[in-house]
Structures are given as C-alpha cells and as structure tokens.
C-alpha cells in the first residue's frame, strides 16, 4: 500500500506539471496578440504595458516566461491590474468560504444521497421508489442559480418578513472563528442549493449499484452464513455498492472547489474563490483568472490522487491490478 501511495503521489506531481504548462500556454501563448496588453486591462498607458511586459518576462523566451509565471503564482506577487490587489491574497481570503461551502454541501449530499438511495433500492419498484426517482430527476434538473434565487426569495427574504426575524439570512458569510452559529446559519441555504443536484445523482447511482450488488453470489453466501438481513445489507451489499460512490464523491468535491461553486457563491454572495473568479471573468481581469484556473486544476488533480488512494483502501483488488502485492 505504501508503494502504491508513493507511486500515485509521484504521478500526481507529473500531472500537475503538465497542467501548469497547459494553463500557461492557454493563457499566455495561444491567444493572438500581446499578453501584456490583455493583462493591462482597458485603456492602459504605454508605460503600464511596458512594465507588465518586463514584470512577466514577455520579452524573453517561452521557458523563462513559464518560469516567471509559476514564480509569481507561488510566491504571491501576482497582482490584478484592475484592483491592484494581490491575487494570492484574494484567493486565500476566499478559500475558507469556498471550503466551508464545499465541505458542508458534500457531507449533506453524501448523507442524503446514501439514505435516499438505500431506501429507494430497498423499495425498488414500489411507489416510494418511483416518487424518489421523480424527485431526483427534478433535483438534477434544477439549475443552482434558479433554486438558489428561489431559496433567497422565499426562505431568506419573505420568510423573514413573515416571521419578523431572519431564520435564514439573505446571503452573506460569517467567519467560523467569529461565530460558529452564524457561520452555520448563513451557510444552510447555500449548502442545500448546491447539494440538491448531487443528492439526486448520488441516490440514483447508489440505488442502481445496490440493485446490481444484491444479485452477487457473495451476498447469497452472506445469507447462507446466517447473517441477519441488516448485516447482509450493510456489511455486504452497501459496503460494496459504496465504492464507486465514494470515488464520485472525491471527484465532485474537487470540481466544486475548483470552480463548480461559482454560481452558488455568487447567488448567495459568499465572496469565495468562485465568486472572485466570476468577478474577474466579468472584467476580463487575466491574472486572477489564470491563478484561479491553476488553483482549480490543482484541486482536481490532488483529489483525483486522494480518490485513487481511498479507492485502493476500499477495494483491495485495485492494489493488485497496479502491480502491488497486498501486505
């Protein structure tokens, strides 16, 4: 297992390098024209452009350019030429907000997805199963900007007016370290708005996995051993059905952090990394977009690796397939 992890981590570094090169090429080399001009924003002076060209090394060869870009990215001296703010600092500021949103939503969608999927599978073909199928489809079909806006309007705004106090605040964010309760209260609506889609998907995936696994020979063996139906279901059926779902979970979590939360953050004004990216895109502010793209890509690659390792821990056969003898 240790060797497996080491190999995975090594290949992660390679992929990250490739991703960084690609991102650099996409932003600075492939588009036509002078990258310094694109970065400088609207109506820059000749001096400004010249300064940016020097700073980023756009007058040097491509390898130097790549090196400079990476250095700026990791040392934190990348600046937006619109706001004059440090891009790295802004991302660090938004990160706890994005993480709070993603982690909470991921827990919610996993819990609800598993509970509903399990329930659906146990009642397969019945009325409650069909009802859940329809609900899941509705959940999957509702765009987050729409459901988020509805939540804001009815649960945030109108409910508060009716009750005379704010049960759910209308957007905004409070640091966990400032007030955990307020942090929680501000995040409930965004969590569910983001999670609804995934709850629908996960309950469907788990349901079909369970219905496949139930017919496996080892489940019959488990029954023949005289285990209780509960043990058969949880230890044998659910345990094996969850493996692909856990994989999906890691990947979706990474995607949400790496940009998937843009809409949710914007609708609820959470000021996370996603909203930062959305604002930058709105202004065609290149350095933040470049940085957030790298940041998102890194998260996706990193969680891919984590998922691989977790998958190997959950399913011992994977370790063998990668040329590893089990310990």
């Amino acid at each position: 297992m240790a060797r497996f992890i080491a190999r995975r981590l090594a290949s992660m570094v390679l992929v990250l390098f490739a991703v960084s090169v690609l991102t650099f090429l996409i932003f600075n080399v492939i588009p036509n024209g002078d990258p310094a001009v694109r970065m400088a924003g609207k109506q820059p002076t000749e001096q400004q452009i010249e300064a940016i060209r020097k700073e980023w090394g756009f007058d040097k060869n491509i390898v130097v350019q790549y090196g400079t870009t990476m250095k700026k990215l990791f040392t934190g001296d990348m600046v937006s030429y619109f706001t004059q703010l440090s891009v790295t600092k802004e991302i660090w500021k938004g990160l706890p907000r994005t993480l709070s949103l993603a982690i909470g939503a991921a827990i919610i969608w996993m819990l609800f997805g598993v509970a509903l999927g399990l329930y659906s599978a146990m009642r397969a073909g019945g009325i409650s199963d069909r009802l859940l199928t329809v609900l899941a489809l509705i959940g999957i079909s509702m765009p987050v900007f729409w459901i988020g806006a509805l939540m804001n309007q009815y649960l945030g705004f109108e409910l508060s007016n009716k009750l005379g106090f704010e049960l759910f605040p209308n957007g905004g964010y409070v640091e966990f370290t400032d007030n955990p309760f307020e942090w929680f209260r501000h995040l409930i609506l965004p969590w569910f708005a983001l999670a609804i889609l995934f709850i629908g998907v996960y309950s469907r995936v788990l349901r079909s996995n369970i219905l496949d696994t139930v017919n496996e020979d080892f489940v019959r063996t488990a029954r023949a051993k005289g285990l209780s139906e509960r043990q058969v279901l949880l230890k044998h059926v659910l345990r094996n059905s969850l493996i692909p779902v856990v994989t999906l979970w890691g990947l979706d979590f990474a995607v949400v952090i790496g940009g998937g939360a843009i809409l949710t953050e914007t609708v609820f004004n959470l000021q996370g990394v996603g909203q930062y990216a959305a604002d930058a895109i709105g202004q065609l502010d290149v350095p933040p977009i470049l940085a957030v793209t790298m940041f998102g890509a890194f998260f996706v690659v990193f969680f891919n690796t984590v998922v691989d390792i977790v998958y190997a821990a959950l399913d011992p056969r994977i370790r063998l397939e990668s040329g590893e003898t089990a310990t």
Partner: protein, 344 residues
C-alpha cells in the same frame, strides 16, 4: 435404516414470472440419513439447485410459492420464520456454491469472512474467532493458514477459494452440507481434491452431504445414494449401485449412456438423449420425460408416483413400465446401459 436427519416431503416451488408460473420443483420427496452422501443429478433446469436453495430458505420471495415439508430435527424448513432460518443456516445446514470466484466478498479478508460466520452465531471474542478461522483453514488443507487468513479472495486460486468456502461452511459443525456443483468451475485435478476433502469430512465427522452435480463421475466417486431429477421431479432414487447397475427410469438410462468413457470402444458419436428438456412454464402432461422417451405408451399421460417398483427396498422410480419390460428395453452396449444405441 436409522431415522433420517432431513426428511423432505412433497416439496413444490413455483415462481410467478412475467411469462407465467414456472413449476421449478414439483413434488420432491427424499430423506437424508446422518452421515450419508446424497447426490442429486440432472441436467440444467431440472430443479436441483432450487430444491437446495429452498431448503436453505434462499428462494423465499414474494414471487415464490413454496409448499410441502422439509423437517430437520424439530424444524420445518419450509414453515420456519426468517429468524429461525437464520439460526439454522451455517449452524445445522450449510451450503457451498458453484462458483468460488464470486462467492466470497472481494473486499474482506478470507479469515474475516470466516470470523463473521462464527461471530454471527456464537458469543465469541474476535481473537478467538480468528484463531478458530486459521484452524479451519488448516483443516481444509490451506498451507500457511495464519498468513492466508489475512489474504483477500482475489489472492486465492479457485480451488483455494472453494476450500475457504468449505472452511466457512463447516465453521459451526453443521449436520448437513449442501454442495451445489462445488467442482464445476474448477480444474479436473482440483475437482478430485475438493471431492476428497468433502469425503474426508463426511467420514471423519459424520457430516451428511447433499451433493448437487451433473457429473456422474463425481457421483460414482463419493455418493451413497443418488436422486435423479428431471423437469422438477425426482424420477429415480436409489443407492449408488442400484442407480448405476439397475437403473429403472429410461431417463437414467439415457444419462448413463451419454457418459463419455475412456475404457470403452470409441463410438462414432457420443450417445445423446434426443429432444429438449421440458419447459417448466408449460410442462408436458403426465410423465415429464414422455416426449423424449422411445418407450412411452398410453399410461404415460398420467403422472407416475415415486414408488418402489423394482422389488428392491429403497429403490424408487417414476416410470409406468414394469421391471421385466425395463430390463428388456434398456440398451446394453458392451456391458454398459443406455437408452438407445448411439447413432452411427
């Protein structure tokens, strides 16, 4: 004969499907004495496996209609509650399956899967259960059992997995082991090892075995008694010698005649039974073998009962022909019994 350990009477299993009702098992009756090896033979779809799974309570479902009796000691396996069945399984009646490749859960260590069965039925500490699991693996002939107990099923060969399945099945020292085609998925050399292992436990521990198979070679190796099933019914029930040397039912003749044998002059073609096995959705009236039987006559429209007709005690069959006719009609080819001479 001592009192039977398991007594099955008039077992019927019907499954409702979209196409109609499948009569998978039709009036099956037989006994298993303590320490006896009973082989159940018949082609695919003859109801062997369904009979066995029903005894384990594994065919219970809203679509299944099960009637009859199956008494094991003081319990009727057909009427027992699910909770009662749970305590019978592995404890008194254990089962191993055809495909050892898929019968073990791939994500748990082999030892832990044996520990699981011990702890489901006994108040026993984990460590003690683990030691017992290792001991069981040693007993079924797995080398270095302490290490192998920590391995996962995919690190075992097919034969090793079947051994592990047997260890699991024998963990609680059941009275009866049902082996559903335990060697079908294995290499011939491994088959012999597994059979020898089953025979060993049968002899050393007086374990009764219900061996389901379509391989008559396997039957000849270890069975005491043979049930021949066809179209959901037991059509003949006798001792090994009675079935092999004095078979009463034409289907049994055909079955014996179609065995490939190396010690017999090579026929142009292997003898076969003409026609198709009956559809259990819509079985033929009367004797199920009637449409394929060259000796059918008017009476075969009625279902023959499973009775002693040959004159020997304990040898039952479902064929209307009288013993005299049977002895004359079966084909004897170089000392071997068959239904019809193989086509040239």
């Amino acid at each position: 004969m001592s009192a039977p350990l398991l007594s099955v009477r008039d077992l019927k299993v019907d499954f409702r499907t979209e196409d109609g009702v499948v009569h998978a098992v039709d009036n099956v009756s037989f006994d298993v004495a303590p320490g006896e090896v009973v082989a159940v033979v018949g082609e695919s779809g003859s109801g062997k496996s369904v009979t066995a799974m029903t005894l384990m309570g594994l065919t219970r479902s809203p679509n299944a209609e099960i009637s009859g009796q199956a008494t094991l000691g003081d319990i009727d396996l057909i009427r027992a509650s699910d909770e009662q069945m749970r305590s019978v399984r592995a404890e008194r009646l254990a089962m191993i399956f055809q495909d050892p490749m898929t019968s073990l859960n791939p994500v748990y260590r082999v030892g832990d899967q044996i520990v699981e069965v011990l702890r489901a039925h006994r108040e026993i500490e984990k460590e003690e259960a683990h030691d017992r699991a290792v001991e069981l693996l040693r007993l079924v002939g797995i080398p270095a059992p302490a290490e192998r107990a920590r391995a996962y099923p995919h690190e075992f060969s097919g034969g090793m997995r079947q051994r592990a399945m047997i260890a699991m099945a024998l963990a609680l020292e059941p009275e009866i082991l049902i082996a559903d085609e335990p060697t079908t998925a294995l290499d011939v050399t491994i088959q012999a090892q597994i059979l020898r292992l089953l025979k060993k436990f049968n002899e050393e521990r007086d374990l009764a075995v219900i061996l389901i198979t379509h391989d008559l070679g396997v039957v000849a190796d270890i069975a005491d008694r043979v049930l021949v099933m066809y179209g959901g019914r037991v059509i003949e029930n006798g001792t090994l010698d009675q079935i092999f040397y004095d078979p009463q039912h034409p289907y049994t003749w055909g079955l014996l005649g179609s065995v490939m044998r190396l010690d017999r002059p090579r026929a142009a073609r292997l003898a076969q039974i003409k026609g198709q096995p009956p559809s259990l959705l819509n079985p033929p009236q009367g004797c199920h073998f009637r449409p394929r039987c060259p000796h059918e006559f008017g009476k075969c429209q009625e279902v023959p009962g499973l009775e002693a007709r040959s004159g020997e005690s304990g040898h039952l069959d479902r064929c209307w022909l009288n013993p005299e006719q049977k002895r004359n009609l079966r084909v004897m080819e170089s000392g071997e019994i068959g239904l019809e001479a193989p086509a040239a």
